[in-house]
């Protein structure tokens, strides 16, 4: 805005103000009504939904699948879209920093003196697009990728194998999902990225035997799964060792294994022994 435009605006605004009404008592009535509506809504929500707590925090449970507040779903979904590990760090800081900077600086790069939303097509379209994108990402975040599920299809080697192998693979997949490895590991699209390393391509790094060893005798924060029994651990290790970078992972008949219902809210309910 140049000096002329500024003065034009101030003049127009002075007239609009002169034609307006004093805040008290004409405008304050609306604000008062709004105040009552807001407090009423909060009280109603509190009465309906209460302040229930989940189980006490327990650093040793493996079955809890954490979710952020729903209004953060879009941000988490955005982070999940970023795949290559070397970009993740940049994205976690980069995306929020850039968005905040773009927001703060808005009045400085949008120098169009026009204020009517229909006569600022770029700003208005961008705004509507961003709101739409946030709703869409929130929806995706709410829908997909619960850490108690694994939505990977069998790699080609398994697809070609006999029926027994395929069943074993699928049982392993369900076991891994139910044991909430996803609470700490990212597996394909599902699971939380950390504290543990992603397992999507674990087969590249560890042989089946080594994985079995880790499940029984893990390093510090990870709990031992020894009490699942040798048979179950065999299946899990078999499934995990099949996850390789070359394999066509996502696709085919991926239906998604559901973890035991206890995970999502119930907290510490032990689902280790199916």
């Amino acid at each position: 805005m140049n000096q002329r435009e500024k003065e034009e605006y101030l003049r127009e605004y002075a007239v609009l103000k002169a034609q307006g009404k004093p805040f008290f008592p004409y405008i304050i009535v609306k604000d008062g009504v709004m105040m009552i509506v807001v407090i009423g809504t909060i009280m109603l929500l509190s009465l309906l939904l209460g302040g229930e707590l989940t189980a006490k925090a327990d650093a040793t449970t493996t079955t809890y699948a954490p979710r952020p507040e729903w209004y953060y779903f879009w941000a988490f979904e955005l982070l999940r879209v970023v795949k290559p590990p070397y970009l993740v760090g940049l994205a976690t800081v980069g995306i929020p920093t850039i968005s905040i900077l773009l927001l703060i600086l808005l009045p400085f790069y949008d120098r169009n003196p026009e204020r009517h939303p229909l006569r600022r097509p770029i700003a208005t379209t961008t705004g509507i697009f961003l709101i739409g994108a946030m709703f869409f990402l929130s929806y995706l975040g709410a829908e997909a990728g619960a850490p108690s599920r694994i939505e990977l299809g069998p790699p080609p080697a398994i697809q070609e194998a006999d029926q027994a192998t395929q069943t074993k693979w699928d049982l392993g997949r369900k076991l891994v999902a139910q044991s909430s490895c996803g609470g700490c590991h990212k597996i394909g699209e599902n699971g939380n990225d950390g504290p543990g390393p992603p397992l999507t391509e674990i087969g590249d790094r560890l042989k089946e035997g080594a994985i079995r060893e880790t499940l029984i005798n893990p390093t510090a924060p990870m709990p031992s799964f020894a009490d699942l029994g040798a048979d179950q651990i065999d299946k899990m290790a078999f499934f995990l060792s099949s996850l390789k970078s070359g394999g066509e992972d996502e696709g085919a008949s991926a239906t998604g294994a559901e973890g035991g219902g206890a995970e999502s809210e119930g907290g510490s309910a032990p689902s280790k022994a199916p």
């Binding site: 307006g20 909060i42 302040g51 006490k56 650093a59 907290g267």
Partner: protein
């Protein structure tokens, strides 16, 4: 020249104030008692000149066309005040330690009179505040209210938004239940991934590699002192600028071409 009417007539029931030179009427003790309130206000006003500020705030002209969208800022403020009040009540019982936090929240829910109601109001009030702050921001965006001369108020607004989001992150851990604990672990892992500052975040925010009592007291301090203090100060600045600059008229409302008030100057 037509007689100018300087003041609107007083509502029924109010007496016009006495002025110097008016005949002094004799008052009984009841009359004096009735005047006590006025005298007290007078006494304060004589030493602060607050009445001028009050007039500036309450009787400021609001441009024509102002509609319900303009109440969203007030609505956000009310949600914030709700958080402050319910937060103070919760703070009377809450203990920020890994061993006691969960129990104290349980105690609030189950034993304290209306405890779960207040806890619920704080929990859901945060959601309401986040929704309202986004709506308020969308309103100022689409109305072009961030343009000259209100750029600074937009900048303050964005800082308020960031602080509000940080409030919800730090508050999420405090009940120290499973949801709180694991969500914070994940949040810290994300922050720890960051380049440069990443490796230091857990040490600063958590007080060590894990979520412990130290983490709780740090989050508690951030959640109930540092950020609220900043929020209160910045909301004050935000509102000062709103009053100083005046609120916008909706962009589709135009001033009448030649208004009665301006005619005089053209003659």
């Amino acid at each position: 020249m037509a007689k100018l009417k300087l003041l609107p007539s007083l509502p029924v029931g109010l007496r016009a104030p006495t002025r110097p030179g008016d005949p002094v009427e004799k008052k009984g003790p009841i009359g004096h008692a009735q005047d006590a309130g006025i005298h007290a206000v007078d006494w304060v006003d004589e030493r602060t000149s607050l009445s001028g500020t009050m007039r500036w705030v309450m009787f400021r002209p609001i441009p024509k066309g102002t509609n319900w969208f303009y109440t969203l800022g007030t609505a956000t403020m009310v949600a914030f005040i709700n958080q402050v009040i319910t937060g103070i009540v919760l703070g009377m019982y809450y203990e920020p330690s890994a061993t006691r936090a969960y129990e104290s929240m349980k105690y609030i829910n189950n034993e304290v009179f209306l405890g779960e109601f207040v806890h619920g109001m704080h929990r859901w009030g945060s959601t309401v505040m986040v929704v309202l702050i986004f709506l308020h921001m969308a309103r100022t965006f689409f109305f072009g209210a961030y343009k000259y001369p209100r750029e600074l108020n937009w900048v303050i607004g964005v800082v308020l938004l960031v602080l509000t989001m940080l409030m919800s992150v730090t508050g999420y851990l405090l009940p120290f239940d499973q949801r709180a604990y694991w969500a914070s672990v994940v949040a810290m892992n994300i922050a720890g991934n960051a380049p440069i500052v990443g490796p230091f975040t857990p040490d600063i925010a958590l007080g060590g590699p894990d979520v412990t009592t130290l983490t709780l007291s740090r989050f508690y301090l951030i959640h109930m002192m540092i950020i609220p203090g900043a929020l209160i100060g910045l909301i004050g600045a935000h509102l000062y600028l709103v009053i100083k600059l005046g609120t916008t008229a909706p962009p589709w409302v135009r001033a009448d071409k030649v208004s009665a008030g301006l005619k005089e100057h053209q003659e």
